[in-house]
Structure formats: C-alpha cells, structure tokens
Amino acid sequence: MRRVSLLSAACAIALSGAAFLQAAPVRADDVITIVIKDHKFEPAEVKVPANKRVTLLVDNQDATSEEFESGEMKVEKIVGGRKQIKVMVGPLKPGRYPFFGEFHEATAQGAVIAE
C-alpha cells in the first residue's frame, strides 16, 4: 500500500514536471537582438514594452564567451564565443534595468528600458 502511494506520488511529480515543460513559452514574438562585439553591447540601450515578457536574443560575435547578467532583471546566462542565447525577461515595470557582461565588466555595459 505504501509502495503504491509512493509510486503514484512519483508519477504525479513526473507528470507535473512534464506539464511544466510543455508550458514553457516557445513563442518567438517580441524578440529583441543585442549584439556583443569587442566586449561591448550593441545597442547598449534597448527599449522593451513594459509589463510584458520579452525575449532578448544575445548574439555574441566575439571569440570569447560572456555571461549576460543583470541583478535588476534577475538574469544570468552564459553565451559562448560566436554563439547566441535567448534570455527571457519581465514582465518589467516601467524603468531602467542595467545589464552587464560579467566576463568583461569594464566595457560590457548596457540597459533595458521598459516603457
């Protein structure tokens, strides 16, 4: 009896995990591209709609890897040299949200402006 309930609990967890994965957004709308070149972001400031979840496409054209990080947006994601990543942010209240490249913090600085 105990084994059965354990088993069904495990199944329930696995199923809800699968449901979660299904629920992960795959929509490609609202994609905003930020290019990394010579350890700088281009554009360094991007505007996004407020109160909406948006996807940033970080396109690293340098040979070195970079970590896209922002305390304000609570994101942290590595992008390899000459690779791209997608970072989902928001929904953000109107305001300015700085981000930086952790591996080249001196030059790699930028901000998302939600409005």
């Binding site: 040979a63 070195t64 890897s65 990080e69 989902m88 591996f103």
Partner: protein, 280 residues
C-alpha cells in the same frame, strides 16, 4: 590578466567555500578525504564535459536548457544536503563518540560522505564549467593567449583554494561539541540558498511563472555581486533582490530540513548497537 585572475578567483571561491564547509562538517569521519577528492575530481571532469556541450545544453527545451540544467543540478545538491543532515541527526552521537577514539571508523558513514561528495561535485561542476568557458574563450581570441590563461587559471585557483582553507581552519577552531551544530546550520542555510537560486533559474527559464515580485532591494547596502555579497550568497544564500518565490523556497527548505532532522533524530538507526560498539 588581472581581470581573468579575479574572475577565476570568484568562481573558485564559490565552489571552495562549499568544500571548506563540507570539510569542517566531516571533521573526524574516516574516509572523508577520498570522498571529497572524488567530488572535486568528478566536478572538474564534469565541468569540462558541460563546457564542451554548453551549446547543446543551452538549446534544449526551447533554449531554456541552461536554466533547467542549473536548477536541476542545484536541486540535486539540496536533496543531498537534506539527506546528509538527517543522517547526521541519526548518527551524530556515535560520530562524536568515535571522534574521541581516534581512527575508529564509523560504519555506513560512507553513504553520507557520498551525498556530500555529490554536493561538492555539483558545486565544482557549475562554477568550473564557467571557468572553462571563460578561459577557452580567451585562448580562442587574440587578446590574451596561454600566458593570460595560465596566470588567471592558476592564480585564481590558488587564491580561491586559500580562502576555502582559511574558512575551514576558522571553522575547526570551534570546540568539537559545537562544531557539529554549527556545520549542520551552515549546510542547512547553504541548501536553502541553493534552492532559492534554483527557483530563480526556473523563473528565468519561464518554468515558474508565479512569485516573481521582488520583495525588497538591499543592493544599496550590499550588492550580491560584490565580493562579500558573493561569499554571503554562497554561505547563507544572500540575494539583494529576493523574489517571493525565492523567499518561500528558502524558508521552505530551512523548515523542511529542520523537520526532517528532528524526525530522523527520533528514529535512531536500527543497527545502533553495531555502529556504537567500541572496538577496544
């Protein structure tokens, strides 16, 4: 060159602090050196593998593979820490006794050591793969080359190791009877902080869509990417802008582990007489 040394140091520090706490927590347990070495070596090998397949991992699950991988790995460590603390609650008395009889092996302590080896392996794997990606990136570019990688890699690792040794030496100054209580708390808060970080990765990956509101902002007092903030982040899970979900995960894990250890302490192991029988 200094920049790469600092970055490697920061990553090694994150894993090193965890190794320092685990070393202090297993003070006097026979066979711990082997298990901790397993954890570190396994983590280093794993971080090279993860770095090599980073792009593949990243593109999984609609480009949320990196987030889900980080969250999974952290949650495995949380489970191992909870299990270890429960085990310690069951066996703590025998351990304390055996520590006085120097060299007396604690039977079945290996299981608990294996759990902590996984925790170390996971910590080294996460931070190590960042180091590998960072350093191989520099090797691939024209800007630094081997000299930068060697200086950054070796210097950063040595500095990180030094800080974790200092933490360990500091912890073992605590008298033995308080040491277990202290390290149990440290491991509990470590687990809670890891759970809060895992929750953030789940939110970032779009898997968790509730509790995203930031509760407070203490970045004016202490930023979590400053060196002290980062050390506190590893040790007690400090975050300057915690979300509701992160706080719930943090408190939930602390309460969960407390209840689990209390329950385990009330259910002593059935093989107590065998474990506790003195050798002399």
């Amino acid at each position: 060159m200094l920049a790469s040394l600092i970055i490697v140091f920061r990553e090694v520090l994150e894993a090193g602090l965890i190794v320092g706490i685990v070393l202090a927590a297993t003070q006097g347990v026979v066979g711990r050196g082997r298990w901790i070495a397993f954890g570190i070596i396994g983590g280093i090998i794993g971080s090279c593998v993860v770095a090599a397949f980073a792009d593949g991992i990243s593109s999984l699950f609609a480009d949320t593979g990196q987030e889900l991988f980080n969250a999974t790995v952290l949650l495995i460590a949380v489970a191992m820490l909870a299990w270890h603390n429960a085990w310690m609650a069951q066996h703590g008395r025998e351990l304390a006794r055996d520590m006085k009889a120097v060299g007396h092996a604690v039977q079945s302590g290996e299981k608990s050591l294996a759990a902590l080896a996984v925790v170390i392996g996971v910590a080294v794997l996460r931070e190590g793969s960042e180091v590998v990606l960072f350093l191989t990136g520099i090797l691939a570019s024209e800007e630094g080359g081997i000299a930068t990688v060697a200086a950054g890699g070796l210097g950063g690792m040595a500095l990180g190791a030094l800080v974790s040794v200092l933490l360990y030496v500091g912890l073992v100054q605590i008298p033995t009877r308080h040491l277990f209580a202290t390290t149990t708390w440290l491991l509990t808060l470590l687990a809670a902080g890891m759970a809060a970080t895992a929750v953030n990765f789940l939110a970032q990956g779009g898997v968790l869509n509730v509790g995203g509101a930031v509760l407070w902002d203490s970045s004016g007092l202490l930023r979590d990417n400053s060196l002290i903030g980062q050390a506190l982040h590893v040790l007690v899970g400090y975050t300057d802008r915690p979300t509701e979900a992160q706080l719930i995960a943090y408190v939930g894990v602390v309460v969960g582990i407390l209840l689990l250890t209390r329950w385990a302490a009330g259910n002593p192991p059935s093989n107590r007489s065998r474990v506790a029988s003195p050798a002399e």
